[in-house]
């Protein structure tokens, strides 16, 4: 008897005129105030909350609570028949009865009545260092250590660790987001080097520890060794090489506190004799010790005149115009095995410039045996040619002489 009664009521509703609908609306309002829960369709203010109840085909919407089916059981507190968009369809919609079946239809709603959908903010492009932001670091004064003690990568954020398989072989310096500068002699097989064996890690504090937050890891997609580097002799002329790096998504280095680029100085820029610079690396920390230091270390070294280096410590055949020499305080600190390829950086106007690549020396930290470095400022054109990035080799941040 109750079912029959329900059917009758539905039929009557569909037959009434528009004026009667208005009357029904009043009755619903009084009903809804007495119900415990608010209609779920009206809770979200960001969606359509108007009072249109006619579809694009001209049919009158059925009240939400009268629709059969488990899908619509959530609408049992919705006594109205206004169009809604609970599942983000193109348009608000409602359910109408067609040939004794309930079907969805879009509603005919003026465009201005629909609130604009809140779009997620466009992600910012990945930050990378440029030739105008290079050479910066967040230096905690307490972590700047003189004398070759342990360092943190935040003070040498351009430091690169080069691995062959699992084995560490050399340091390097990040000079652009995609390129690491290192020593040619780090690749003793020369042109036959299998670059797929190599990887580069930036932001690394310790060779045998991994910190996923600070570190970025890359494969090597290109290796450029200076064409005039001679492997057959113990001659370190043109000891310079470039590695192009990319991660597993084909991206280059992202700028972080622990990963920054170092600036290149202008072509053939020289610094005064006696100028103090910094060297950094993961290499051997003690003479004669077989094992390599696990941690990043840095020290200050003082630049020596090229002539003095040639005449007093080495000779003209060993040290040439493409090399520079530097020694630690009282000859007690120096680069050593494992440091090759790493940076000799010098601070000018609070910006760090890469002046040298750790290359060679007779033993390590021996009295009157300075370390010898590839003089980077002689190779601006070579670097520009092979990276295709002349802006990074222009030395833009170096102070101009007035």
């Amino acid at each position: 008897m109750k079912c029959i009664l329900g059917g009758f009521l539905l039929t009557c509703v569909l037959c009434w005129t528009e004026a009667i609908i208005g009357e029904m609306d009043e009755r619903w309002k009084s009903s809804s105030t007495s119900v415990n829960g608010k209609c779920i369709l009206d809770r979200d203010e960001s969606k359509y909350t108007g009072k249109v109840s006619v579809t694009v085909s001209g049919r009158i919407c059925a009240p939400w609570n009268s629709i059969q089916g488990s899908r619509y059981s959530a609408f049992k507190n919705c006594y109205h028949n206004y169009c809604r968009n609970p599942d983000d369809w193109t348009q608000p919609w409602c359910v109408v009865k067609k040939r004794n079946r309930y079907v969805r239809e879009y509603c005919n709603i003026p465009q201005e009545a629909i609130k604009p959908v809140k779009r997620p903010p466009t992600p910012e492009p990945i930050k990378q260092d440029t030739e105008l932001t290079c050479g910066e670091r967040r230096l905690d004064r307490q972590t700047k250590i003189i004398g070759g003690l342990r360092s943190t990568v935040e003070s040498q954020p351009w430091m690169a660790a080069i691995f062959k398989g699992d084995g560490f072989i050399c340091g390097g310096t990040l000079i652009t987001p995609c390129w690491v500068l290192t020593a040619a002699h780090c690749f003793p097989t020369g042109k036959r080097t299998q670059i797929n064996r190599y990887s580069v890690v930036l932001g690394k504090n310790a060779i045998n520890e991994t910190d996923p937050v600070k570190e970025q890891k890359f494969t090597v997609s290109r290796l450029v060794i200076h064409e005039d580097f001679d492997y057959s002799t113990e001659n370190y002329t043109h000891d310079i090489a470039l590695l192009k790096i990319e991660d597993c998504n084909g991206q280059c280095a992202v700028k972080t506190k622990t990963v920054r680029t170092a600036c290149l100085p202008p072509f053939q820029q020289m610094l005064p004799v006696g100028f103090y610079c910094e060297i950094a690396g993961y290499g051997r920390y003690q003479k004669g010790t077989f094992k390599f230091s696990r941690y990043l270390k840095q020290t200050e070294v003082k630049l020596i005149s090229q002539k003095v280096c040639q005449r007093t410590y080495y000779n003209k055949d060993e040290v040439n115009e493409n090399m520079l020499c530097a020694n630690g305080r009282d000859w007690k600190t120096d680069a050593c095995q494992g440091d090759s390829g790493g940076p000799l950086v010098c601070e000018v106007n609070n910006i760090m410039f890469l002046f040298g690549i750790i290359s060679w020396g007779k033993e390590c930290a021996e009295k009157n045996q300075p370390g010898v470095y590839t003089q980077v400022s002689n190779y601006n054109q070579w670097i520009s040619q092979h990276t295709g990035l002349p802006r990074y080799t222009a030395g833009s941040r170096y102070p101009q002489k007035d």
Binding site: K164, G165, P188, T193, E234, Y236, D339, G341, G361, G371
Partner: protein, 392 residues
């Protein structure tokens, strides 16, 4: 002037032909090795490609008709061709003069067989050897005779070549080869640097073994196989530098050694030698010794040489026409030791180090191939795989 020109032409011809026979012997020997390791990938194994080529070369001298064709086609050359016996003799002579290498190759024929003169003559011409006639009807006595012979020819180093039960009354023809090698390194390992380290075997377990370590300049190269597998080759020279050991190992730790089986060939060895460079390395290898005895019958049969072992199909009528002969066994015994010993009185001179690159560490703590080669002739004295060194 005319005479000089002729001499030069002759020298050139001889030189190129020498290379030809040696490459063929190396390739055939390495094919046998590849076949042998394929059936035993988890076993320590050492063969002598040179030795195998020698004994089957002897078999060629006695072969006729289809059997000779088969041997010649599989080995890539025929010792019955004009000029080849002399080349074999020269090769053998050059090797015989090397210290530390003892080689014995021989043919054992039953005493009752009357031998053809052509066989005696050709064996002598090519191998400076005579066939030995033994009473196989008394197997144990025959075994002792053969063991005495091999002991005499390896300076006492291989005294028990044949174990009991190998020979029988049906045995008629045995080719055998025994090699002993004890080289000392040009630059020794410092025994104080030898320490216990784990070696990862084929079956996934790890054993603790004595690992020798040295840092010096080695000839070294990075290579990629035809199948795209990265591998390294390192050369360790022995005293006198005419003999050296080539170590061949996959670059990645999880790549099985069998991935490099097809890389072993004379042309590859030539390429390695051409492309290797002198590079400072820290090399760690296990101390090991090998004493392997192998009957190559099953290996050679799998390679298509089964007919020489078949009574009904083999044709060794150049040895004797009195009865059909087939090869009963092709036996090889290899004995070698790899330890720290260097040239007596020598020590690794501490070189002044200039480079500030980290010295790359190469640790052979998993299976690897080793090849011991006589560089002047190119003869491959040994090829082997180490899969399980002796534990501490």
């Amino acid at each position: 002037m005319q005479s000089l020109s002729v001499l030069l032409i002759f020298a050139l011809c001889a030189s190129s032909l020498c290379n030809l026979i040696q490459d063929k012997q190396t390739d055939f020997g390495l094919q046998v090795f590849a076949e042998a390791v394929q059936s035993a990938p988890d076993r320590n194994l050492a063969l002598s490609p040179y030795g195998i080529a020698s004994v089957l070369g002897m078999a060629q001298m006695g072969a006729y008709g289809a059997t000779l064709k088969l041997l010649a086609s599989k080995m890539g050359y025929s010792l019955q061709e004009r000029g080849m016996p002399k080349l074999q003799r020269l090769l053998q002579r050059d090797l015989a003069s090397e210290d530390g290498v003892e080689v014995a190759s021989g043919v054992m024929v039953d005493r009752k067989i009357i031998l053809e003169k052509v066989f005696r003559r050709s064996l002598s011409k090519a191998f400076q050897s005579v066939p030995h006639q033994i009473d196989f009807s008394q197997p144990e006595m025959a075994r002792q005779v053969i063991n005495s012979w091999t002991s005499d020819h390896t300076d006492g180093m291989i005294s028990e070549f044949l174990p009991s039960g190998v020979l029988s009354e049906l045995t008629r023809l045995v080719f055998l080869n025994a090699l002993h090698f004890h080289g000392v390194w040009k630059t020794p390992f410092d025994p104080r640097n030898t320490r216990e380290q784990l070696f990862h075997t084929v079956n996934g377990s790890a054993v603790s073994v004595p690992m020798m370590t040295t840092t010096q300049k080695f000839n070294y190269g990075e290579f990629v196989s035809k199948d795209g597998v990265d591998y390294d080759v390192i050369e360790m020279p022995y005293e006198g530098e005419s003999i050296s050991m080539l170590l061949v190992t996959p670059f990645e730790k999880d790549v099985p050694l069998s991935a490099l089986n097809k890389e072993l060939s004379s042309s590859r060895i030539h390429q390695w030698r051409q492309e290797m460079r002198k590079i400072s390395k820290q090399l760690s290898i296990p101390r090991f010794s090998m004493d392997t005895e192998i009957d190559l019958k099953s290996t050679l049969s799998r390679m298509g040489l089964g007919d020489i072992f078949s009574q009904s199909r083999a044709d060794f009528s150049r040895i004797t026409t009195e009865e059909p002969l087939c090869v009963s066994k092709v036996l090889q015994r290899v004995k070698l030791e790899v330890n720290e010993e260097g040239t007596k009185g020598s020590s690794a001179t501490a070189a002044v180090i200039y480079s500030r690159m980290a010295v790359e560490e190469i640790t052979l703590d998993r299976p690897f191939f080793f090849l011991i080669q006589h560089k002047p002739t190119g003869a491959l004295l040994f090829s082997g795989q180490l899969t399980q060194p002796q534990e501490y």
